[in-house]
Assembly symmetry: C2
Homo-oligomer: 205 residues x 2
DNA sequence: ACGTTTGTTGACAGATGCTCAACAAGGCAG
DNA sequence: CTGCCTTGTTGAGCATCTGTCAACAAACGT
């Protein structure tokens, strides 16, 4: 059976010869779409191949192993989603923190599904994915410290900010706008971060 | 080949007829041991059966599906590990909070491996496991609020405490005792919780 | 001693990750 | 235009693992 143009699932795919880069990109996008519906261990590569209109063999040609494919997909999504927030201008520290908080809340509001998919991936999947998320979080810490007008401040502050970021993530992800007004949430997060950092610095004497 | 007494791996297993309960308990314990070495999708039920000295079929007799087995294992571990901390006595709120924090730090110190296994399970695995961990966390919130002398206080406080708990978990798990003294960590966590709760209550007017 | 319950197993079916050797489409030299 | 050569692409097959089925055998009651 000669491969013809076929519309499978969401994506309409002319099954013709494609450049390697285009194929990779297409497969990664399909993978990302499917990963938002179900976790990786419930996703058969058969289905990815079918949606792309290619054979499973070709998928293995681009990604030697299922784990490799998984890492590539999560990595691409992470690049796009956790793109470092541009620390805005040179306003006063409280305002800069507020901007960061607002940025994150907006991010979650717009991509709640994608974001939860990503953090879910952080837990269960490949070790490389765990490391990826861990590195991303580590990279975030100095950015927030900087926005607070606090260049490096010792190990406790690092530790504490890291924990606070994870806590904020959890808070925003389980936030129900019907129960807590958006503004109230943001106000609290800003005040919380400043208080937390104040405590950490006081403890460091 | 008649099943005889055989010592496989860690557990010495007389492969004889066992009571259903004993078998279940044995299999769950073996599963937990193995889960601490590698994530669920890298664990073949063959190996569990082999360690128990039984056939894979028998395992399926007790747990209809691999996911069921997984849930049973994680659930048992969770019961044992996340056993609700006994809120000690009727000391003043700050002291009670301190006790809770110390309890958690001690828990992580003694079972770091097990605990990370558990939270890793919270992310990647079965939906039932995710729900289990979520419920456990939810159940923790009122306990901490209570210890702080704050009976219910509205949605924001709940949300904030939930996020704070997750943040604390992250903080303690990535804590390096060589960089931050134990006492300093605990002092900060106690002060942080109190400050956080104060902010949330102030916001609720 | 016989039968019923139930712990236990080997053999098989279906799905899925992964390999291998070969085909075919496009570009480039002669 | 012809023929080669790179490379995107595939079908068939292998190994592993989950889950099923029918039957065996050890305890226990009658």
């Amino acid at each position: 059976m000669v491969a013809t143009s076929e519309s499978v699932g969401t994506t309409t795919v002319p099954t013709a010869r494609m450049s390697a880069d285009a194929r990779r990109a297409q497969l990664i996008e399909i993978g990302w779409d499917l990963l938002q519906e179900r976790p990786i261990h419930e996703l058969a590569l058969d289905e990815v191949a079918a949606r792309a209109g290619i054979s499973r063999t070709l998928l293995f040609h681009y990604f030697p192993t299922k784990a490799d494919f998984y890492v590539a997909v999560v990595s691409a999504a992470s690049d796009q989603l956790l793109r470092p927030p541009r620390v805005p201008d040179d306003a006063a520290p409280p305002e800069r923190i507020r901007r960061l908080v607002e940025g994150f809340v907006r991010l979650v509001e717009r991509n709640r599904g994608s974001y939860t998919t990503l953090v879910r991936a952080a837990g269960g999947g490949d070790q490389r994915v765990v490391d990826l998320i861990a590195r991303t979080r580590d990279a975030l810490v100095p950015r927030w410290l900087d926005a607070a007008g606090n260049p490096d401040v010792g190990p406790l502050a690092h530790l504490v900010v890291r924990g606070w970021l994870v806590g904020m993530e959890e808070t925003v992800l389980s936030w129900d706008p019907l129960l807590v007004p958006r503004e109230e949430l943001i106000d609290h997060l800003v005040a919380s971060f400043i208080a937390e950092l104040g405590l950490a610095n006081a403890a460091a004497r």
